[in-house]
């Protein structure tokens, strides 16, 4: 056990933070704004840092343990018949990777939030939610079974809801509570995926009689190798068919949580929450839990791929469906990002797009590449969000500065609108520098983190045979182009040119409390590529593998193979896992780099060259088909098409099926009336006439009999005395009878 005995602390620290901030933090802040905020914020951050320290300890513990997975059972949770679920933490390379990302990035964002949330009346509530989120996210990644994962899954969904709606009382000019609506939208969209998750778990348990990861995977592999059918009571199904259903449901769950087509609509709206939340939950961690789920379940996906079962109707297998969904999302969201003017909305669509990259990667079997991109994306997207937060903060500061001079009651200034910015590189140099790094990393410029991870995905897609991989490769390449383009557009609009609003002129750099975490993240965004640095040629890789010394290359791959490659143990080569190239593919790399640079330059120097002199200028793309394509987002489709349809269906289901048929007819007519009839029979005939008659009859009989007997009870003492005397005489006679006669 040793160092793994510390694992429960991973959950305990955030929980302490929740209790502190939830119970007493508010008192601190109310007592003294200045020091109270420090206490509340730093206590929460300290708990996050402590959890990070534990995660680091787990990391070294695994290293000392030869990377063998360890299970820390805290207690038995459910134990009913066959159904056994422990509350246990799985410490393996995959979960520790996620823990490090969650707690590491989480800690930085906690610290940043101390500065960002300064002055908010609900300061300690914010940190309560943030710590609660960490708690649930760590349950999600550390559980050793699907049920615990689901607890975390729901918990982070709840925290997401709470944090998106953190300023739930804010209303827009129409009087709509936009933030609360956005929170509800996120919650409801996630429910769709959660329903799929519940179905998937039910099916998993039905098939494998367990929900714990390792037993499920072991019996899946065993069933696959022996070719047994899966029996569901009266009917049976092939393992491949059942797993296709399970993995397709997992995809639906992941689509909800990781914002994929068609459930991505909630994520852009989720930007209504405070920016640290956007960075932590809606970019770096929570939204990646869908990718984690698929990576964790890689054995099931690979069995489906190997058994070559296709989904009826569309004729593609479920892993391929995952890949195509991801790729489509990447392109689609990348295009929508062109059309956004809100600085955070651009990043939101960018996040959706990058999540599409990851989903596409894991769908293609490039689990390490997916995780790699997940990690680097956590770094630079957190950086970008926090940077945008810094920009918004600066803009608000400038606006605040202005409104001191002259009060403008009808000012509809939006500090997030990029059209009002411009030229901020002079006002906010630190923010500009780190933002630049983040943008280039996201765009995939050598040698920043994003280049390596994105390139690994592209290389995987480009080198494996099959039309799916080819299609995905081209879609992702287009998406990568889009990424670079909209980031160039954003940089141009935000930091270059001239200030287009007085607020931008008076913007100021944010406090060190906010910029220092940004610098740390910028460093990570630069160096993140080292995590899984590829070889430069095939010969270098072969030499290294013969020498069994890979140096710093492919660190993440060798680290994660202890969690992911388990399925490759299966013999006889029946499994053809797609192979990720371990050395750099120069053709792919060169194409993507050129496209990225071209896109960046095109955005800055061609399309938007002379644009953005004034705030009300039109976007030059506004008249092109790209705009129309992107302006017609799924959102509109939802509002105009699906929601009315859904409402009508819900009305039909609710009023006709549920109320009229199920409730009025089945329940009222059939069940209730039958029951009432029987109850009437029981109460009138059986009870009132039968049982009551019997009981009352017995009572009547007793009364009638006692009526005679009570005549003897005169109440006169003399009567009683006489009867005693009679008894005495009788006894005397009895005794004396033999004597006398």
């Amino acid at each position: 056990m040793g160092i793994f005995g510390l694992a429960p602390l991973l959950l305990v620290f955030p929980l302490i933070g929740v209790l502190f901030n939830g119970l007493v933090g508010r008192r601190f802040v109310e007592y003294n704004r200045q020091t109270g905020e420090k206490w509340s914020g730093w206590f929460g951050s300290l708990m996050a840092l402590s959890a990070f320290a534990i995660a680091v300890a787990m990391f070294f513990g695994l290293g000392a343990h030869e990377f063998h997975a360890e299970t820390v059972v805290l207690f038995d949770w459910i134990h009913v018949g066959d159904f056994y679920v422990p509350w246990a933490m799985q410490i393996d390379t995959l979960s520790v990777t996620m823990m490090l990302v969650v707690t590491g990035v989480g800690s930085l964002i906690h610290i940043y939030a101390i500065g960002y949330m300064h002055g908010d009346p609900n300061f300690s509530r914010f940190f309560t939610y943030l710590n609660l989120f960490l708690f649930f996210m760590l349950i999600l990644v550390s559980g050793n079974n699907y049920l615990m994962l689901f607890v975390g899954w729901e918990g982070v969904g709840l925290c997401s809801f709470l944090l998106i709606g953190f300023w739930f009382d804010r209303v827009n000019e129409k009087g709509e509570t936009m933030n609360a609506n956005a929170a509800r939208k996120a919650f409801v969209a996630n429910r769709v995926g959660d329903l799929a998750m519940i179905l998937a778990m039910t099916l998993t348990f039905w098939t494998f009689k367990s929900l714990e990861f390792q037993p499920v995977f072991d019996s899946a592999v065993e069933m696959f190798e022996s070719g047994h059918m899966v029996h569901f009571g009266a009917f049976e199904a092939t393992l491949g068919g059942v797993l296709t259903a399970i993995t397709a449901l997992f995809l639906a769950g992941a689509a909800g949580k990781s914002a994929q087509i068609p459930l991505y609509v909630w994520l852009p709206d989720a930007m209504a929450g405070p920016t640290p939340v956007s960075a932590l939950i809606h970019a770096a961690t929570m939204v990646t839990s869908g990718i984690y789920l698929i990576v964790r379940s890689n054995v099931l996906f690979e069995i489906v791929r190997a058994s070559e079962v296709v989904i009826p109707g569309i004729n593609i297998s479920s892993p391929d469906l995952v890949a195509l969904t991801g790729a489509a999302t990447a392109v689609f969201a990348g295009l929508i990002a062109f059309t956004q003017f809100d600085i955070k909305k651009v990043l939101a669509y960018s996040t959706v797009s990058q999540l599409g990259f990851m989903i596409a990667a894991v769908g293609m079997g490039a689990y390490v590449a997916g995780m790699f991109h997940l990690i680097t994306h956590a770094f630079f997207k957190a950086l970008l969000f926090l940077g945008s937060g810094s920009v918004i903060h600066g803009m608000e500061h400038g606006h605040h500065h202005l409104s001191h001079g002259h009060h403008d009651e009808h000012d509809t200034f939006d500090p997030q609108d990029m059209r009002t910015m411009g030229g901020l590189r002079h006002k906010m140099p630190t923010t500009f520098a780190v933002y630049m790094i983040g943008s280039l990393a996201l765009a995939g410029i050598v040698p920043l983190a994003g280049f390596w991870s994105k390139d690994e995905i592209l290389a995987h897609a480009g080198t494996n045979p099959g039309w799916i991989f080819t299609v995905v490769y081209w879609m992702l390449t287009v998406a990568a182009f889009c990424t670079a383009f909209y980031m160039g557009r954003q940089l141009k609009m935000t930091f270059f040119g001239k200030p287009r609003h007085a607020a931008a002129e008076h913007a100021e750099e944010s406090s060190p409390l906010m910029t220092r975490p940004l610098m740390v993240l910028a460093a990570l965004a630069v160096l993140g590529g080292l995590l899984n640095f590829p070889f430069f040629s095939e010969s270098a890789y072969k030499a290294a593998s013969e020498a069994h010394d890979y140096g710093i290359n492919l660190a993440l791959e060798h680290w994660l193979e202890h969690s992911i490659a388990s399925f490759e143990l299966s013999e006889e080569g029946i499994v053809h896992m797609p192979h990720t190239p371990t050395w750099i593919q120069f053709d792919v790399a060169i194409i993507s780099t050129i496209l990225a640079v071209v896109a960046l330059l095109a955005a800055v120097f061609l399309v938007y060259r002379n644009r953005w002199q004034t705030a009300d200028e039109r976007d030059p793309l506004q008249s092109t088909p790209i705009w129309w394509m992107a302006v017609l987002p799924f959102d509109t489709l939802y509002m105009k098409g699906i929601i009315p349809l859904f409402n009508r269906l819900a009305d039909f289901l609710g009023y006709k099926i549920d109320w009229d048929l199920w409730h009025n007819f089945v329940h009222e007519r059939i069940i209730r009336d039958t029951f009432v009839g029987f109850a009437n029979f029981a109460s009138d005939v059986l009870d009132r006439q039968g049982v009551d008659g019997l009981v009352n009859g017995a009572g009547q009989l007793t009364r009638w009999l006692s009526g005679g007997l009570r005549m003897s009870q005169t109440g006169y003492a003399r009567t009683y005395a006489l009867s005693i005397l009679l008894g005495t005489v009788a006894l005397l006679a009895y005794f004396l009878w033999p004597v006398i006669f």
Binding site: R710, S712, Q713, G715, Y716, A717, R718
Partner: protein, 101 residues
């Protein structure tokens, strides 16, 4: 004529019967009560006679207890009579039939 225990038992029986007669015939609750005392005395006499006859002291001990209990009984009984008299202004037991079923 030899004075045997039979004589004492006979006397005891006569007194007991007279007491019983009193209980059954008199209407004054106090007289009834006194008759009961007389019945107790008749029993006591039989006890002492038997004790003498058997040469055993236990009979006398029992009489002692009977007298004690009788004292307690008289105290409670008279208190009851006083209470009844207070509420009904009568101690005629023919007028008292609260226990009528």
């Amino acid at each position: 004529m030899e004075l045997t225990i039979d004589w004492y038992i006979g006397l005891s029986a006569i007194l007991f019967s007279l007491g019983a007669l009193g209980v059954l015939t008199r209407r004054n609750a106090i007289i009834v009560f006194m008759s009961i005392e007389m019945m107790l005395n008749a029993a006591n006499l039989a006890f002492v006679a038997f004790a003498r006859h058997l040469g055993d002291l236990d009979g006398q001990v029992l009489v002692f207890f009977v007298i004690t209990v009788a004292a307690a009984e008289v105290a409670v009984g008279l208190a009851l009579i006083v209470t009844i008299f207070r509420s009904k202004k009568s101690i005629n037991i023919d007028e008292i039939n609260l226990m009528k079923g």
